[in-house]
Amino acid sequence: MAVLTPTRKSAWQAYSDWANAHRKWLFAAPAMIFVGVLIAFPLAWTLYLSLTDAHGSVRAASHFVGFRNYLQALGDMDRFWPATARTFAFTLSALAVEMVLGMCIALLLWRPFRGEKWVRVAILLPLVATPVAVGMMWRLIFDPNIGFANQLLNFFHLPSQPWLSSTETALPTLVFVDIWQWTPMVVLILLAGLTSLSEEPDEAARIDGANAWQRFIYVTLPLLMPTVIVAVLLRSIDALKTFDILYATKGKGGGSFNEVETLNVYAYGLSFDYNKYGLASAVLILFFLIIVACMFLLTRRRKGSNS
């Protein structure tokens, strides 16, 4: 710095002063502009497309049709509403099991024990595994003829199941796959919450004669509630948007009878398998609104429970 000439120093100084004074936006702006251009603009376009009859090629001329796409989607009892129902069935059942199971496993792992590290590694592996590969892996395991799942059932003299290949059992099977892959996520979040809890309330309850179950219900769980809600929030966002394992195991349209077609799979199919961009955009906007509504309900409850 000392060797700089006075004029250069002042120019540099001026720039430096300016940069330091505006560092808030200087730091934040690039990321926000990137996100804005890559998200806000496409979202606006999707909104526009949803009001047109765009289909076929992306370059083809389209006409403004008002809310016809929305009316078509909302009146569609064959694809849209079943897909919505499946989205919620998938999300709610996976979420419920993941939260209960995740809480049980987190409580088991809470106190230190020998071999703790190995258990932690074991539950981390499903979490980082590539979902498409996970889908393929379960496809083999759930294969009705050669799969390990039916070999296991037969070993216990139970009847074989069709698993992914039947319209009734495909979605529950995929819920199982989701539970297998994402329960560890819930475990890790809850465990982080548990280890950050203070000991005193639990200790006080113990001295007052509360048993383990009472301490969990009346002390640990209420204190852990904010963490539980974070886990629910993160998992429900991802579960609503599940795509990879559904598409990897059942392919286009969620199988030949659309048995696992959720809103995301439906919208993807409309966009890139059938090129009905207008209708697809309307479905996506509705899907987006559903997700935002779910998040709104969850975060509102969160504020309520804090006060």
Partner: protein
């Protein structure tokens, strides 16, 4: 002080672990817990082991239930996948796209997270975090249109851009909670000693954030590596990433289970090796912000 912060990712200000080290009451509970833990490990690991075993079997052995565990292993599936199907190109594609999108997102995301944390820009943070909520398909149609008009579809640049959409919000989210937990005093004393705010960020905050940046970078790399949908639409024949390559493996003819499992192992092994060595970082990253309430 500085050593402890640099060593421990994301727990800069958090107190040490508060584990109860009291002996458990009953022996019965201890046994129950041991059994339950073994069962849990089995349920989570067994399917992955099954995949690994199948990748070393001939297709005849895969169909033979009596050869579930004991069989003569073969490298044929890997030879097939890595040799004939040019998977090494897809491995490189996956790596390159994940690496570039992570690096670029770190450059954009770390300063942004810092500003959003220090100036409590909650509304701006919400804009970036919106990216986590929006269904990816709703961006794909406009992206496809714009990028195909620019003749970019099928190139690396589009894939990297689209994967940044996954990486950037994740990095901002993790780094924000890291900076939130980092004490202000160090920067303040650096400024008292004559550094400008940006100077303090460069010389004090950034070096102390290595743990946090590693956490964010590793997770973003994993999520980009695992991403399927964007590459499914935006990649070309030569820029296919591994998840897309595996998916295409099935769509031709009848399923070659051995080859498919070998391909699945090829995708998951790098990520699992990374996970094994960076376990602590991944856990802190995944649980970032979860305990703030």
């Amino acid at each position: 002080m500085s050593a402890t912060i640099a060593d421990r990712p994301l727990t800069a200000a958090a107190p040490g672990p508060k584990r109860r080290r009291k002996p458990l009451r009953s022996r019965a509970y201890k046994v129950f817990r041991a059994v339950a833990l073994i069962l849990i490990v089995l349920v989570f690991i067994a399917p992955l082991l099954w995949m690994l075993l199948a990748s070393f079997k001939t297709n005849v052995d895969i169909y033979d239930a009596s050869k579930a565990v004991f069989f003569t292993p073969t490298w044929d599936n890997y030879d097939n996948v890595l040799g004939r199907n040019n998977y090494l190109i897809f491995v490189f594609n996956s790596f390159w796209v994940a690496f570039c999108s992570t690096a670029l997102s770190l450059v954009l995301g770390v300063p942004a997270a810092y500003a959003m944390s220090r100036f409590t820009m909650h509304r701006s943070a919400l804009v970036v975090l919106m990216a986590r909520i929006i269904p990816g398909v709703s961006l794909l149609v406009p992206w496809y249109y714009v990028f195909s008009n620019m003749h970019l579809v099928g190139g690396y640049s589009v894939l990297i851009l689209s994967h940044m959409f996954v990486a950037l919000p994740l990095i901002v989210y993790i780094m924000m909670s890291f900076f939130d937990s980092m004490p202000l005093e160090l920067e303040e004393s650096a400024q008292v000693d004559g550094l400008t705010p940006i100077g303090a960020f460069n010389r004090i905050t950034l070096p102390l954030s290595v743990g946090g940046i590693a956490t964010a970078g590793i997770l973003s790399f994993i999520f980009s590596w695992n991403n399927f949908m964007f590459a499914l639409v935006l990649s070309g024949a030569h820029t296919k990433t591994l998840p897309v390559a595996i998916f295409n493996f099935v769509s031709y003819a009848s399923i070659d289970w051995g080859g498919l499992m070998a391909a699945a192992v090829v995708v998951t092994i790098p990520i699992m090796v990374i996970a094994l060595f960076t376990q602590k970082y991944i856990v802190t990253g995944l649980t970032a912000g979860a305990t703030k309430g």
